[in-house]
Homo-oligomer: 204 residues x 2
């Protein structure tokens, strides 16, 4: 038998992380060499322990899984990254893939299945949960231009147009135009629903 796969586990929920570590430890060919509760901690641990596969939660304080993956890609290219997510939005999938993530799975999979996927990823293959992939494909590509997306993003926390304009360095009229076209492209009722659907689809 070859050397075991060395894992880094990063999740902010202690309960989950510990439980996961325990379950994965049952697999003979897997060994958890490091754990982290935050994005920066995950990076530090990765540098220190150089795992074969990093299993990252998407939502972590400090820096999310995708950010960590991006950093890892340049610092430790030989370390494969597998992202695990609670309630997966397709938008994150796209971002994750762009960041060089090799696997993307929801937490609804079983531990046994996760172990298999870890092996798959370690072998150099990719794995994306079929359901999440379908969602991402059905969401399609963003019809929004860069500016429209930016403005919509700034609008998503309910700020008034003047503030958006200021933050984007645009004239208020321009902002309204972008918002208007974004809303019509998304078939939304108003900018708030537009912002939400754009976020759901991963277009912002």
């Amino acid at each position: 038998m070859s050397a075991p796969v060395r894992l880094l586990l990063a999740d902010d929920e202690h309960l989950i992380r510990g439980a996961l570590a325990a379950l994965l430890a049952l697999e003979e060919d897997l060994v958890v060499v490091a754990e982290a509760a935050t994005g920066p901690e995950a990076l530090a641990m990765a540098r220190a322990h150089r795992p074969d596969v990093a299993v990252l939660d998407l939502q972590m304080p400090g820096a999310d899984g995708v950010k960590v993956a991006t950093a890892l890609r340049s610092e430790l290219p030989e370390c494969r990254v597998l992202v695990v997510t609670s309630h997966g939005q397709p938008g994150h999938l796209k971002r994750a893939l762009a960041a060089g993530v090799r696997g993307f799975v929801p937490k609804t999979v079983s531990a046994r299945r996760l172990a298999e996927i870890i092996r798959t990823v370690h072998a150099g293959n990719r794995y994306v949960d079929p359901e999440l992939a379908a969602d991402a494909i059905s969401a399609g590509d963003s019809p929004l231009t860069a500016r429209e997306a930016e403005v919509l993003d700034l609008a998503s926390d309910g700020a008034p147009v003047t503030e958006i304009a200021e933050r984007a360095g645009l004239s208020p009229g321009t902002v309204r135009n972008y918002l208007s076209s974004a809303v019509s492209k998304l078939g939304a009722e108003n900018r708030h629903t537009a912002a939400r659907t754009a976020r759901e689809r991963g277009w912002v």
Copy 2:
């Protein structure tokens, strides 16, 4: 030694649920007698197995932990309920306590700690995570009247006033009045931010 504590575990994330079951099984006085992935399933399992303590995730498809807790309270009053949450909002805490939940903890606790808390709850005591409790206390009581809260809730998905008025069976002018007073009470910029802060504080 007395009989072991019989547990129901409900969480939609298979990974977590399985891992949790495995960890809790390590404790000699705890035994997981049922697992569920959705709210309704949790209820059915509880009816069938009559556990001593139900450990419920706050977020589940079908019916959330609080809804399940409410149902359990009337159907199986002798079953203690412990709610576990990923990223706890104080609002849910208040709702949960009102529903007769005996314990409320974030998933950042360790498995060992969780086991202790399960024992505490089983003994008839209450346990609320200190940090979450502090948040809830600092959030205070809702300054909103029932109608204001209702209207704000309907407004939270970005619907226009006319639609809110229709859905609430009110005149549009009245809706605007309520919205206006709610916004000023919450010190918000507009109804959207007001709706969000109200939701964060658990006032809707």
